[in-house]
């Protein structure tokens, strides 16, 4: 049963990633693309968690946490690039 749930979850997350990818390519605006990338980060994080359960290991936890941190930073930086151009000023 857990496996079925996992498979479903994987399936849904993969579809989600594809939808993000669509938005990433389609745009049309830059904020759209950035938003898509940010969402991909968070979904990747979700995939890490799923993998952790699937493989029955906690070894991917830090990766998940780190990806959250880095996703945030990159989104912030990119948005600031759009608003100010100058990221570190």
């Amino acid at each position: 049963m857990l496996n079925i749930a996992l498979i479903i979850a994987f399936a849904l997350m993969t579809i989600a990633q594809l939808l993000n990818l669509y938005r990433l390519f389609k745009g049309p605006s830059l904020p759209d693309r950035i938003l898509a990338l940010d969402t991909m980060y968070i979904n990747a994080l979700a995939l890490f968690v799923l993998l952790g359960i699937f493989f029955d290991t906690t070894i991917y936890f830090e990766a998940a946490l780190l990806i959250a941190v880095m996703g945030f930073i990159s989104t912030v930086a990119t948005s600031k690039y759009l608003m100010r151009g100058d990221i570190v000023e």
Binding site: F10, A11, T14, Q17, L18, L21, L24, F25, G27, L30, R33, I34, L37, M40, Y41, A44, L47, F48, L51, I59, Y60, E62, A63, L65, L66, I67, V69, M70, I73, S74, V76, A77, T78, K80, Y81, L82, M83, R84, G85, D86, I87, V88, E89
Partner: protein
């Protein structure tokens, strides 16, 4: 020992004359040095005249059979005597000739260098050693000919001489090595005795040709004759020395020296004889039409060298004997004549025979001397020139290998003799007789006696030898020829009168014909006009050289068009070719035995996502920010792949590096054009696509080949020893900080270097940032949005905690100093983004240089620590401490090393990003400098 000194003394002490300002001191020191060498030489005379060959030898570089060994053969002795004797006269002559403003000391230095090298050539026992001196004469003559370097003709003459003779020398190197290998020794004594071996060897022709190339270029034989007349741009003393007794004679010396081993074959005859004959005639012909005194003498010299070559080519013992004799005679009268030409030039200010005339009444003594010299040159009886020339004519009549065409030789010889008489008469009559010349640059008068003395001595010798050959010359000639011909030496009686014979007839014909030619010279001049344009090889030479240069420039421009795109394409292409080459014609199966593992849908789709976003990066590369975002996606999926395939550490590193990279790229993009113009031509684009597909496909193929093959790896060792030996369960990290800690040390060094280099690049460098964004909107006023500031500040401690966590667990779980460092760095960067440099920089009041440097120091010292316990660098040690309550926990030196890594990462990343951030904002730079100033003040305080 003193053998070696004869050449080495002038070489090693050459610098002395140029130490003095006083011109007399210059001359005296030079004379003293040459004189000493002369004495050393004469001390060998007894032995030599007893027919011995004094030898002395020291081993030097066995690998190239180079020995410091010298010999004084009779022939060598004669040459050395000429070199030193005439050299001494030249020293005296030059003292008067060289003008005030010319650096006389330097002149004598060059002269001594040249003298030493010449002596070396004629006294060497070892071929390689001889080769060294040979090339040395090329260098020193280059300096001598170019002495008046402010004159372009001097420069060109010098360079031409250098290239021709030096180039010939290169050919001769090859020839000598071959000769030495054929014989099995480079010592002349052995070589000269090995005629049969050499002639029998299949490389004999090649060897001969290469060596002759060297000799002919040096002795200005046709078709290399042209450099010599242009060497006349040298000061007359130089010409008198180089072109009478020394440099140009080196070639014929070598021919005579190797005569015993190389001569006596048809090949020798058919190369040497014609060359000599052509040179003899051609140069004599040219000499008649030279208006320049020195030009006339130069061509006459070439022609006489041709004569000697021809004699050696004929190959009979007597011919060789005659050659030796003529070498001696020619040296004497030609040196004198050059000096006289120099005197005339010096006292009248010109050497042009069109302007000179009727000098007799001003300088009768010089005139008399010139007449004597020219008589010798023309081969008038009672002068030394006559003796050898008549013997020569006699030799030409002898049978030779031309068979039915044998008559060509005497005919050519006689013609040349006729020309010689003609130009000799001209030199006397045009200059000293006819109506006195008007408008000469100077008022002509006799030179100071010291300047005339050398010429007087030489002319006296010409006459004396002419009158009493058997007493004056025969002994020396016999010894010299004897050392060449050995047993074959003819017991020849040199005499003025041999009775009425063909040779005498030819001499007479020459004298009469020459006079006739001279009288008819005006007609001849007209007929000669065509030649004056074409007969000078200089044009050809320069055409060749400049052709070489321009061809070179074209080729270079063709290859190196300065386009990086082409260079990268070449690199990729070259590697593709190299990598593909082994598979061409290899029948082994490409895919290995291992079965492929199955694909699950999630991975498959993620793979597709990776491919799509990669391609998107390439497609969107013109719209740069979009490309960056796509690149970010690629990086994200790559880290996913690392997780998928059991590499959590890689995923952690990849994701953090990737984000920092993206920030870096955007910071740069802000100061660069936002878009890339479409500028690649269609063809170029296709070329690139093909190339990149080849590269990518190649890598795919390689990887398939590798992945489908089994391999046994050293990995097992790491897995076993990680815990017991390295004290950590995360094998990857243990490899990094322990098994291969040295790599990691290098890796953080690279980071530090990057920091340094980037800082240096950005130092005192400013770029203007655009005022509006891509859509043309002005930038938002709100530089540091409140919300971000409010969130990031409390975020900082949390992130530090996380970093500590990642750092500490690194040894046993995924993580470690590097990732911790990147986390801290990116959180600090977040501070900068949220609050700006002006707010943040002073709050981290320590120079990032110093942080990263300390990282390195700590890492190194950790490694050095293991020396104390007697282990090699970087040997790790760890132990488990049992603490009350806390329990058992591990202390490993690797942690200290990892701390170094951590600091290096934080320091370098911060250094780069902050410096990069502040290059376009003045206040930011002000802050960072003020921070440094603060520190300086602090240091100043205590």
């Amino acid at each position: 020992m003193n053998l070696a000194l004869i050449p080495l003394l002038p070489l090693l002490t050459a610098f002395i004359p140029s130490l003095f300002r006083n011109r007399n001191l210059n001359a005296i020191t030079a004379a003293a040095i040459a004189g000493t060498s002369m004495l050393l030489l004469l001390s060998q005379a007894p032995a030599v005249f007893n027919g011995q060959i004094p030898l002395s030898s020291w081993s030097w570089i066995p690998a190239i059979d180079l020995n410091l060994s010298f010999r004084v053969s009779g022939f060598g002795f004669m040459f050395a005597f000429l070199i030193l004797g005439i050299g001494l006269l030249i020293v005296l002559y030059a003292r008067y000739y060289i003008a005030e403003q010319d650096p006389m000391g330097r002149f004598y230095t060059y002269l001594l260098l040249f003298m030493g090298s010449m002596l070396g050539i004629v006294l060497s026992e070892n071929l390689i050693l001889l080769m060294m001196f040979w090339e040395l004469t090329s260098i020193s003559s280059f300096l001598l000919i170019g002495f008046w370097n402010y004159r372009s003709d001097a420069r060109e003459g010098a360079r031409m001489a250098l290239v021709i003779t030096g180039g010939g020398g290169l050919a001769m190197i090859a020839g000598f090595i071959l000769l030495g290998n054929i014989v099995g020794s480079f010592e002349l004594t052995t070589i000269l005795a090995a005629k049969e071996t050499v002639h029998a060897h299949h490389l004999y022709p090649l060897t001969l040709i290469l060596i002759l190339l060297g000799a002919f270029t040096k002795s200005a034989q046709f078709p290399f004759q042209f450099w010599l007349p242009h060497a006349m741009a040298a000061p007359t003393p130089v010409s008198a020395y180089l072109h009478s007794a020394t440099m140009v004679k080196a070639g014929v010396f070598l021919l005579a020296l190797l005569f015993p081993v190389l001569s006596g074959s048809a090949l020798w005859f058919f190369i040497v004889t014609p060359i000599g004959l052509i040179t003899l005639m051609f140069a004599a012909y040219m000499a008649m039409f030279k208006d320049d005194l020195k030009g006339l003498l130069a061509y006459s010299t070439v022609s006489h060298l041709g004569l000697i070559t021809l004699l050696l080519g004929l190959g009979s013992p007597l011919a060789a004997f005659t050659a030796v004799f003529h070498i001696l005679n020619h040296a004497t009268f030609k040196a004198g004549l050059f000096m006289l030409a120099g005197i005339i030039d010096h006292e009248t200010g010109t050497r042009d025979m069109k302007r000179l005339s009727g000098l007799w009444q001003y300088m009768p003594i010089t005139g008399t001397l010139t007449m004597l010299g020219c008589a010798a040159m023309a081969g008038v009886p009672l002068f030394n020139g006559f003796l050898s020339k008549e013997m020569f004519l006699a030799e030409t009549l002898g049978p030779n290998l031309f068979g039915s065409l044998s008559w060509i030789v005497p005919l050519g010889a006689t013609l040349a003799a006729i020309f010689a008489v003609a130009y000799s008469i001209r030199m006397v009559h045009d200059v000293f007789f006819k109506e006195p010349a008007a408008n000469l640059p100077k008022k002509p008068h006799e030179p100071p006696h010291g300047m005339r003395l050398p010429a007087e001595i030489l002319m006296a010798l010409c006459v004396l030898v002419g009158l009493f050959p058997m007493t004056m010359a025969a002994p020396m000639v016999n010894v010299a020829a004897g050392s060449i011909l050995g047993a074959a030496t003819p017991d020849y009686h040199i005499a003025i009168w041999h009775g009425l014979n063909m040779a005498l007839a030819l001499s007479v014909i020459a004298l009469i014909g020459g006079s006739v030619f001279y009288l008819q010279r005006l007609r001849l001049f007209d007929s000669h006009l065509w030649c004056s344009r074409y007969c000078d090889g200089k044009m050809t030479f320069e055409a060749i050289v400049s052709g070489l240069v321009h061809g070179g420039r074209k080729t270079t421009r063709l290859m190196e068009n300065g386009s990086l795109q082409r260079y990268i394409a070449l690199l990729i292409g070259a590697v593709v070719v190299l990598g593909a080459s082994p598979f061409i014609g290899s029948d082994a199966p490409f895919i290995g035995p291992l079965a492929l593992s199955g694909v699950d849908p999630v991975t498959l789709i993620m793979g597709l996502v990776l491919i799509f976003s990669t391609v998107a990066t390439a497609i969107h590369h013109r719209n740069r920010i979009v490309a960056i975002i796509m690149l970010g996606t690629v990086g994200l999926i790559v880290s996913l792949a690392f997780i998928r395939f059991s590499a959590p550490d890689l995923a952690l590193t990849q994701i953090s590096v990737e984000v920092v990279t993206i920030i870096l790229l955007m910071m740069a993009l802000h100061l660069l054009p936002r878009t890339t113009p479409a500028e690649s031509s269609r063809g170029r684009r296709w070329r690139d696509i093909i190339l990149s597909v080849a590269a990518g496909g190649g890598c795919t193929a390689l990887m398939m080949g590798v992945l489908t093959r089994p391999y046994d790896t050293i990995a097992g060792y790491f897995l076993e020893n990680s815990k017991p030996g390295g004290g950590g369960t995360n094998v990857v990290n243990v490899i990094l900080v322990d098994f291969r800690g040295f790599d990691t040390l290098g890796e953080i060094t690279v980071l530090v270097i990057a920091g340094l280099a980037i800082y240096a690049l950005l130092h005192n460098f400013e770029l203007k940032a655009p005022q509006t964004d891509a859509l043309g909107h002005p930038w938002t006023e709100d530089r540091f949005p409140m919300i971000l500031a409010q969130i990031t500040r409390p975020l900082m401690p949390l992130a530090l905690l996380f970093a500590v966590y990642i750092f500490l667990r690194g040894h046993n779980e995924p993580g470690g100093g590097f990732i911790a460092g990147l986390i801290v760095a990116s959180v600090l960067i977040l501070q900068y983004i949220a609050n700006g440099i002006v707010w943040t920089r002073p709050r981290l009041n320590v120079d990032n240089h110093i942080i990263m440097a300390w990282g390195l120091v700590i890492a190194v010292l950790t490694g050095v620590g293991s020396w104390i316990v007697g282990y090699p660098f970087l040997t790790s040690s760890f132990t488990y401490l049992q603490w009350p309550l806390v329990g058992k926990f591990e202390v490993a030196s690797a942690i200290a090393f990892d701390l170094g890594v951590f600091l290096a990462v934080v320091g370098s990343v911060m250094l780069v990003l902050v410096k990069l951030g502040s290059i376009n904002s003045v206040d930011a730079q002000r802050v960072s400098t003020s921070v440094q100033k603060e520190k300086k003040d602090k240091e100043g305080a205590h």
